[in-house]
C-alpha cells in the first residue's frame, strides 16, 4: 500500500534517464528507465509518465520531484537537485549500511564514493576527462568487435583467456584491439579484456576498502565487471537491487528527507 505523499527522483544520465518513486514511509514504489537521447526534457517527461503508470499513482500525489545526473539543472520538472555523487551514496545506503565504498560505473563517467559509518559522504573521485573505464569505452569495444553492446556480456562469458589491454585512451585501445584481431585473438577473449580494462581503470582512481557496493548501468548490464572487480579487490562486491536506478532512488530519498525536515 502506498502511503501518500510520494517523492520522485529523476537521474538524467548520458545514455539513460532513470526515475524512482518512494512513498512517505521511504518504500520504493516503482522505478523506470528510458533512453535519454538528445532531448533531456522529453526524456524526463517520458520517464516520469512511465514511472507514475507503473506505480498507478496520479501526478497530483507527487509532493516533490528532484533531479540528479549530468542533466540535473536542465530538468524543468524538478524543484531541486543533488549531484550524482550524493544521490548514489544515498541510494546505496538504502540497501547497505555504512561504512562503505560505492563504485558507480555509468555511460560516460565512473565514480568512487566513500561513506562513513554514520552514512556521511567523506570523499569522492570521478574519472578524468576521458571515456576509459566507462560505458562509452565498452560501446567502442563492441563496435571494434562488431557486436552490439548487449551481445558483449555473453561473448565475454565464453572466454577465460587473459589478454591485457595496455592503452590509457579509448581510441588507442580500439586501435590495439584491431591489432590483436589481426594477430588472431578471439573476439570473446578481447571482450573479456575490455571488461578487465574497465575494472583496472576504475580501481586506479582511488583505494577501495571495506564493504564495496557497485552501481550503475554498466554494473547492472555487464555482470563480468562485478566478477572481475571481486577478483581484483579480493572481497565480495554487493550489487543492490535497482543498481541502475540507484541515483534516482537516492535523490527521491533526499527529497523525502528534505520534506520531513522542513
Amino acid at each position: 500500500m502506498i502511503v501518500a505523499p510520494c517523492y520522485a527522483g529523476v537521474d538524467c544520465g548520458s545514455w539513460n534517464t532513470k526515475a524512482a518513486l518512494v512513498d512517505s514511509t521511504g518504500r520504493i514504489v516503482a522505478t523506470a528507465i528510458v533512453r535519454t537521447g538528445a532531448d533531456v526534457q522529453a526524456a524526463a517527461e517520458r520517464v516520469v509518465t512511465d514511472l507514475l503508470a507503473r506505480a498507478e499513482v496520479e501526478r497530483s500525489a507527487l509532493a516533490e520531484l528532484w533531479a540528479t545526473g549530468f542533466g540535473r539543472h536542465a530538468i524543468r520538472l524538478a524543484s531541486s537537485s543533488r549531484t550524482e555523487l550524493d544521490a548514489h551514496a544515498r541510494g546505496a545506503l538504502q540497501f547497505v549500511p555504512g561504512p562503505l565504498t560505492v563504485i558507480d560505473i555509468g555511460g560516460q563517467d565512473a565514480k568512487i564514493i566513500v561513506v562513513d559509518a554514520e552514512g556521511r559522504r567523506i570523499a569522492h573521485k570521478m574519472n578524468r576527462k576521458c571515456a576509459a573505464g566507462t560505458g562509452s569505452f565498452l560501446e567502442e569495444m563492441a563496435l571494434r568487435l562488431d557486436v552490439r553492446i548487449g551481445e558483449l556480456p555473453p561473448l565475454a562469458a565464453r572466454s577465460t583467456e587473459e589478454i591485457s589491454l595496455g592503452s590509457f585512451c579509448t581510441v588507442f585501445t580500439g586501435t590495439e584491439v584491431l591489432g590483436l584481431i589481426r594477430q588472431g585473438k578471439q573476439p570473446a577473449a578481447l571482450a573479456r579484456a575490455a571488461y578487465r580494462s574497465v575494472v583496472k581503470r576504475v580501481l586506479e582512481m582511488e583505494r577501495v576498502e571495506g564493504k564495496v557496493v557497485a552501481t550503475g548501468g554498466v554494473v547492472a548490464h555487464h555482470p563480468m565487471v562485478v566478477e572481475l572487480l571481486e577478483e581484483a579487490i579480493g572481497t565480495p562486491v554487493i550489487v543492490p537491487e535497482h543498481a541502475q536506478e540507484i541515483g534516482a532512488i537516492g535523490v527521491a530519498m533526499a527529497a523525502r528527507q528534505a520534506a520531513a525536515e522542513a
Partner: protein, 425 residues
C-alpha cells in the same frame, strides 16, 4: 540548486578602478620605453630577481602575466596550436605555448591597452625556481630577437632552506650583474638595489596584509578577486606604485571587515585553492562558488608573491632566500606543513587541489599530498582536473559536479570551523 537561491558573484571593490589604471599605465610605460628607447626593457619571470632590474633602471615586462591574459581572454585556445606546430608539446606549460603562439599569430590581449604587441626586450631574465619551462620560453625569444637570455638555475624540491642553498643562488645573482649592467649601460648602485628590495618587501607585506583580511569571516576578498588584484604584486614589485596600491586596497578591505561585509551575503563554507587558476573559467567558477554560498578565501597561488625573507640590509642574500622559500620550489613535506598552516589560519572547511595538466610544477595532487593533508589535518579535499590556459583539459560539467558534490559533502559533515573535524577511517 534552483535559480531563486542563487547568490550574485562578488561585487567589484572600489580599488578595482585604480587597479585598471595602474595596469594600463604599466603596459603603456614598458611599451613606450621599448618604442622610444627611453629605458632598457627586460622580460622577467614572475618570481625572478626583478629587484636587480629595477635598480638598474629597466622597464620590466612579465610574460607570465601575458600568458594569464591570453588565458583569461580565452585567446589561448586560438594561439597555442601555433606553438604546438613548432614542436612545443601540448603537454608542456600552456602559458609558454599560448604566448609563443600569440607571438607567431601576431595577436595580443594587450591590444585593449593600446599595444600592438608585447614590448620587445633588450634582455630576458629568468629564474627556474618555479619550473624549467621559463628558460625554454625565454630562449625562444632570445633566439628570435638575438638578445641576451640570462638567469638563475635554482634548486627545486627544497626541504629545509640551508645556507649552502642561499650561498649558491647568491653567487648566481652576483654573476648576473655584469650582463645586466652591460645592457643597461650603467653600474649597479648598492643603494638603488637596497631601495628596490625595500619596495619589494613593502609591496609583499602590503599584499600579504590584503590577503590576510580574508582570514576574517566573512571574507572580504576571494581567490578569484585576488587573482586580479595581485597584478601589481607581479608586474610592479619593487616600485612605489605597487606599495601605495596595496596600502589603499588593505584600507578598503579592512573597512569591509569592520563593517562585517564579505563578498557573499551568507558564507556557509570557506575553501582553500591550491594550484594554478583556470584563467578561462575564473568568472564561471566565481559565480558557481557564490551560488553555493561558498567562499574560496585563500590560495597558494596568490600567496606566491609574498616574499617575507626580503631584507634591504642584505639585498642579494635575502633575494636568494626569498626565491628558495617559495612554495613552488619546496619539497612535499614543507608543502604539507604550509598547507596545514593555511588551513588553520584561514579556518577553511576544505581544500581544492587544481591538477593543472600542463603545469606539473604547480600541481600538488600528483604525489599523494591531498590524501596526506586530508588524513593529517582532518580537512576534506577535492582534486579538480583542468589547466591554467588549455581549456581542452577542463570539463565544465564534470568540474561543476565535483564542486557541487564537495559542497554537499561539507553540508553533511557539520561545521568544521567550529571545531568539529570529519574523521577518516
Amino acid at each position: 540548486m534552483p535559480p531563486a537561491q542563487r547568490e550574485p558573484a562578488s561585487p567589484e571593490l572600489r580599488s578595482t578602478a585604480r587597479l585598471k589604471g595602474l595596469m594600463a599605465a604599466h603596459f603603456a610605460g614598458v611599451d613606450r620605453a621599448a618604442r622610444e628607447r627611453t629605458a632598457p626593457v627586460a622580460w622577467c619571470t614572475s618570481v625572478g630577481p626583478v629587484e636587480l632590474l629595477r635598480a638598474l633602471g629597466y622597464e620590466v615586462f612579465f610574460p607570465e602575466n601575458h600568458g594569464a591574459l591570453l588565458g583569461a581572454s580565452r585567446a589561448a585556445g586560438e594561439t597555442m596550436g601555433r606553438a604546438h606546430a613548432l614542436g612545443y608539446s601540448p603537454d608542456i606549460c600552456s602559458y609558454l605555448t599560448s604566448d609563443i603562439g600569440a607571438y607567431l599569430a601576431k595577436k595580443t590581449p594587450l591590444a585593449r591597452y593600446g599595444l600592438a604587441a608585447p614590448p620587445r626586450p633588450d634582455l630576458l631574465l629568468f629564474s627556474t625556481n618555479q619550473c624549467r619551462e621559463v628558460r625554454d620560453w625565454f630562449e625562444f625569444y632570445g633566439r628570435e630577437w638575438k638578445v641576451p637570455v640570462v638567469g638563475v638555475t635554482s634548486f627545486r624540491d627544497v626541504g629545509t632552506v640551508e645556507d649552502h642553498h642561499v650561498d649558491a643562488i647568491t653567487r648566481q645573482l652576483e654573476g648576473l650583474v655584469p650582463a645586466l649592467e652591460a645592457v643597461a649601460g650603467r653600474r649597479l648602485d648598492a643603494r638603488s638595489l637596497e631601495e628596490a628590495v625595500a619596495r619589494s618587501r613593502a609591496c609583499s607585506d602590503g599584499w600579504r596584509d590584503c590577503l590576510r583580511t580574508s582570514a576574517r569571516r566573512p571574507a572580504p576578498l576571494t581567490f578569484f578577486d585576488a587573482t586580479i588584484h595581485m597584478g601589481p604584486a607581479v608586474v610592479l614589485r619593487g616600485t612605489a606604485e605597487a606599495c601605495d596600491y596595496y596600502l589603499a586596497l588593505r584600507e578598503e578591505l579592512e573597512g569591509h571587515v569592520r563593517e562585517g561585509r564579505g563578498t557573499l551575503r551568507r558564507e556557509r563554507f570557506r575553501l582553500y585553492w591550491d594550484g594554478m587558476p583556470i584563467w578561462g573559467r575564473l568568472r564561471d567558477l566565481a559565480t558557481l562558488f557564490a551560488e553555493l554560498e561558498t567562499s574560496v578565501v585563500a590560495s597558494t597561488y596568490c600567496n606566491s608573491w609574498i616574499f617575507e625573507a626580503l631584507d634591504p640590509r642584505d639585498p642579494l642574500r635575502s633575494m636568494a632566500r626569498a626565491s628558495l622559500e617559495l612554495f613552488i620550489a619546496r619539497a612535499e613535506e614543507p608543502k604539507q606543513r604550509y598547507l596545514e598552516r593555511m588551513v588553520a589560519e584561514f579556518a577553511v572547511d576544505g581544500v581544492i587541489f587544481h591538477d593543472s595538466r600542463t603545469c606539473p610544477n604547480n600541481s600538488n595532487a600528483r604525489f599523494g599530498l591531498p590524501r596526506r593533508l586530508r588524513d593529517g589535518a582532518g580537512v576534506p579535499v577535492l582534486v579538480l582536473d583542468g589547466d591554467l590556459n588549455d581549456l581542452r583539459c577542463f570539463s565544465d560539467e564534470q568540474a561543476r559536479t565535483n564542486i557541487e558534490a564537495f559542497v554537499e559533502q561539507l553540508e553533511g559533515a557539520g561545521p568544521r570551523a567550529s571545531g568539529e573535524r570529519a574523521r577518516y577511517a
